[in-house]
């Protein structure tokens, strides 16, 4: 192969064509049936680009909205601005390195992404995880769930114009990240779970911070949620917006709190239990309305259940090792394994294919936010532009997971 020459900035082929240098953005070539339907503009319709850089698209999400006045007629999300090729990168990493590769997928709740990967590998390798490690996993993961839902609360309010709840909920989140930082050494991308256990045992700083926080969290949460739960403006903007009924939810492969807000009590922790969840006592909150308000209230209920789980873990923590003994070079038998965990956003699953070498042959990651974004074009028509934010924020997507 010849070495390609270094291109120069004066290369005419790199210049923007004259007709596109103007002030009108061209409508792309419509290749599929759905695109043809979308780009057929009727009289009075306008294409508005809520672009990847925008104060409230939850990360780099681009939505092309077809509006008629203030009413949205159709919506086309464009993804890929945060695509990092994680699945391909995992094929070049060995099984231990994959854990830090999958961390930045759902960066807000990265312990769950690690858990999904680690669970599949443990199934491939037939590794048994010590009980203490399982309890620590559940404890830290539920803390991460609370932190994630706090972010959700703040972000949802911010997208609606309320600037105070995000700061109050971030005060909570700051404390939780400090707690997890004392345990894992990191505040966002924890890199804490290992195949066969966790990276380090509980320490004194973690326990003291956690105990201190647990004693205060009840009152603080009530104050924070009290800002929004009974706020007339917030309730009227979220109630009845983006209603998903049971059949639509199942047909669209919705999972997690979005599914439970539509009346389907499906939680992987109870439906297909993993780790020590069968031994713990907690409820699965479910709501029937299926609108954005129900999704919001359901997540707040889940926070309370997570606090219950944390409490039980602390009381029932057994002694023992925190990691199983595994060789440094892991070569599982050729085979396939699938595992799913209940991430704060829904069902997070990994499917691993092993070919006997020390690197996965195929590492497939299924992220719930990716599937949930398909709901937006379904729910938006007929609503107004401000409702775009309510619906997108209510579904709680994280673009790192969506774009992989």
């Amino acid at each position: 192969m010849t070495t390609p020459t270094r291109p120069s900035l004066d290369d005419p082929s790199l210049a923007i064509p004259v007709e596109h240098a103007g002030i009108f953005d061209p409508i792309p070539v419509a290749r599929t049936e759905r695109q043809r339907e979308f780009y057929a503009l009727k009289d009075g319709e306008l294409l508005l680009n809520i672009g990847p850089q925008h104060p409230s698209t939850h990360g780099v999400l681009r939505m092309i909205v077809k509006i008629n006045g203030e009413q949205v007629v159709d919506l086309d999300p464009v993804l890929g601005y945060l695509h990092r090729g994680v699945e391909k990168l995992c094929e070049n990493a060995d099984y231990h390195q994959v854990i830090s590769q999958v961390d930045p997928l759902e960066y807000i709740s990265s312990l769950f992404t690690e858990w999904g990967a680690v669970l599949s590998f443990e199934k491939l390798l037939d590794v048994e995880v010590p009980r203490r490690a399982e309890y620590i996993r559940v404890l830290s993961a539920e803390l991460n769930r609370v932190a994630s839902h706090m972010l959700y609360l703040g972000w949802m309010a911010l997208d609606l114009g309320g600037i105070t709840p995000i700061l109050w909920s971030f005060a909570e989140r700051d404390e939780i990240t400090e707690i997890l930082g004392a345990l894992t050494g990191q505040k966002l991308l924890f890199n804490y779970f290992r195949i066969g256990g966790v990276n380090g045992d509980l320490n004194h700083e973690f326990m003291s911070r956690l105990g201190d926080w647990m004693s205060r969290v009840g009152a603080q949460l009530e104050a924070g949620m009290g800002l929004l739960n009974e706020n007339e403006i917030f309730v009227r903007r979220a109630r009845g917006i983006g209603v998903i009924d049971r059949e639509t939810a199942l047909r669209m492969c919705v999972s997690g709190p979005n599914l439970r807000a539509s009346g389907v009590p499906f939680d992987i922790r109870r439906a297909h239990p993993y780790s020590v969840y069968p031994e713990l006592d907690f409820d699965i909150p479910t709501r029937q309305e299926g609108d954005s308000l129900a999704r919001y209230l359901l997540r707040m209920d889940e926070v309370k259940q997570s606090l219950r789980i944390i409490d039980q873990c602390l009381h029932r923590m057994p002694d023992g090792p925190v990691s199983a003994k595994l060789p440094r070079l892991l070569r599982p038998r050729p085979g396939r394994a699938f595992s799913a965990v209940e991430a704060p956003r829904g069902l997070y699953s990994t499917y691993v294919v092993s070919d006997g070498t020390d690197q996965p042959f195929r590492m497939r990651i299924h992220d719930p936010s990716f599937v949930h974004l398909q709901l937006v074009p379904l729910l938006m028509p007929g609503n107004l532009i401000p409702d775009t934010m309510v619906i997108v924020a209510g579904l709680d997507p994280i673009m790192g997971g969506v774009d992989k």
């Binding site: 306008l46 925008h54 104060p55 203030e70 309320g162 706020n231 009227r236 903007r237 775009t388």
Partner: protein, 447 residues
């Protein structure tokens, strides 16, 4: 010639400056004296003849000059108060406790690149911020700040005020349309729809006050609320106050009714394509608007510059500085020095860490504060308008605080809910208010 250049090159820079400046100043001084001697007498005669015009020009200039510091104060207030409500500290780096933050904002706007995007309608694009800012200032011209301190005492002041509010809508639409940007267009249309919807309840809600006062002149309305706080219009027109406050929030584009500039949805709405001082105009106009409607609320419903209760001034301090004669000179020379030393003494004596110079500095500052306080107190006691101004400002800023608190607390109302609220709730309520007021007034008049 070379001798001159040689001499010139051998001079130092300050000498060069002086050598050029002194003759120039002398010549200019002579020319200025002659010009003034010729021009000033007829000018003074002209001004004396048109005293009203002078007074108006002076008042308008003061108003225009005062708006910037007012905006600064309100911006700072908003940043700090919202920060505290958000469990944060707010700006505290620039200046003592962050007070110079607004100045920094002002410099930032001035120093930004002033560009016009391609495709905009340049004359309209340029004039839109001016229109919006002008509308706000013109509203300030009729607000009575103190007895005798009103820029123009129109007898249709209230009507004029609402007319000027309509001008700001024109400015927003100009901004949105001329920006050649879909977001701006949507923002402008929302702004126009919102402003028009809320103007009707706004004007109707004060009709009750007008009926009670019998006049649209704001000065008269305030004068009629003299007495104690029980004479204020708020007790006679509570519904009117409520409707007025909500409609005014919408007119000023403040949360929760700030669809126009919902930056979570349409970036900055009509102001998306504006940057630098052009955006600064919109920015400052909004905060001055907040002050204006707070002031109007106070004027209409809360007694304007009237104190809540009459307190008798037992002290009538009549100072006649001229009677002291030469003693005045001694006073002016001796009192500051004595005061500084006296106030510095405790600090110097009681703490060994404070040097003499530091103690004197502290003493000086304290003396100044005391002197200003005494002067203000004397002015408060002796001049009516100082009292009035103080009460007016105090009450206005209470309402500014309410606006700021609303911004910290509430999310935004959706655009169709906003309009529905205006047309379906506020308008009938305002009509009901007028109806009841009219009936009550006629009953009281007849019976």
């Amino acid at each position: 010639m070379t001798a001159v250049t040689g001499y010139w090159n051998r001079l130092s820079v300050p000498s060069k400056v002086l050598l050029v400046a002194i003759p120039t100043l002398v010549v200019l001084g002579a020319v200025a004296t002659v010009a003034l001697a010729i021009l000033v007498p007829p000018l003074v005669d002209f001004l004396a003849a048109n005293e009203d015009l002078v007074r108006f020009l002076l008042a308008a200039t003061i108003i225009i000059v005062i708006t910037i510091p007012t905006a600064f104060v309100i911006i700072y207030l908003e940043l700090k108060v919202i920060a505290r409500m958000n469990l944060r500290v707010g700006p505290d780096r620039v200046g003592p406790w962050g007070t110079a933050q607004s100045l920094a904002h002002g410099f930032k706007f001035l120093s930004k690149e002033d560009f016009t995007p391609r495709g905009v309608d340049v004359p309209i694009f340029t004039l839109a911020p001016v229109a919006v800012f002008l509308a706000t200032i013109m509203g300030l011209l009729v607000i009575p700040f103190a007895p005798g301190l009103v820029a123009q005492d129109l007898n249709i002041a209230l009507l004029y005020f609402f007319a000027m509010g309509g001008l700001s809508v024109v400015g927003l639409m100009m901004a949105g349309w001329a920006s050649f940007n879909k977001y701006s267009l949507i923002g402008a249309l929302r702004a126009a729809a919102q402003a028009i919807s809320y103007e009707i309840p706004l004007t109707l809600s004060v009709v009750g006050v007008v009926i009670l006062a019998g006049t649209m002149s704001l000065n008269t309305i305030v004068e009629q609320q003299a007495g104690s706080f029980l004479d204020w219009n708020v007790w006679k027109q509570p519904l009117g106050l409520l409707i007025f406050f909500i409609a005014a929030t919408a007119e000023a584009n403040r949360t929760p009714l700030d669809m126009t500039e919902a930056d979570q949805e349409i970036v900055a709405g009509f102001a998306t394509e504006y940057s630098g001082m052009r955006y600064g105009f919109f920015f400052f106009a909004e905060y001055v608007n907040v002050f204006v409607i707070s002031a109007l609320t106070v004027v209409l419903f809360f007694g304007g510059w009237n104190a809540p209760f009459d307190w008798p001034f037992p002290v009538q301090v009549t100072l006649d500085p001229a009677s002291l004669g030469i003693g005045l000179l001694f006073l002016v020379a001796v009192v500051p020095v004595l005061g500084t030393i006296l106030l510095a003494l405790p600090f110097w004596l009681l703490s060994s860490r404070i040097s003499t110079l530091q103690a004197l500095a502290i003493g000086f500052v304290l003396f100044n504060l005391l002197a200003v306080g005494a002067l203000l107190g004397w002015a408060f006691i002796s001049f009516d308008w100082v009292v009035g101004l103080l009460w007016m400002m105090l009450k206005s800023y209470v309402f500014v605080f309410v606006f700021v608190q609303m911004r910290a607390t509430f999310p935004r109302v959706r655009v169709d809910q906003l309009m529905g609220f205006a047309w379906k709730w506020l308008l009938p309520a305002a009509l009901l208010n007028i109806f009841v007021t009219a009936i009550a007034v006629s009953l009281v008049a007849n019976g």
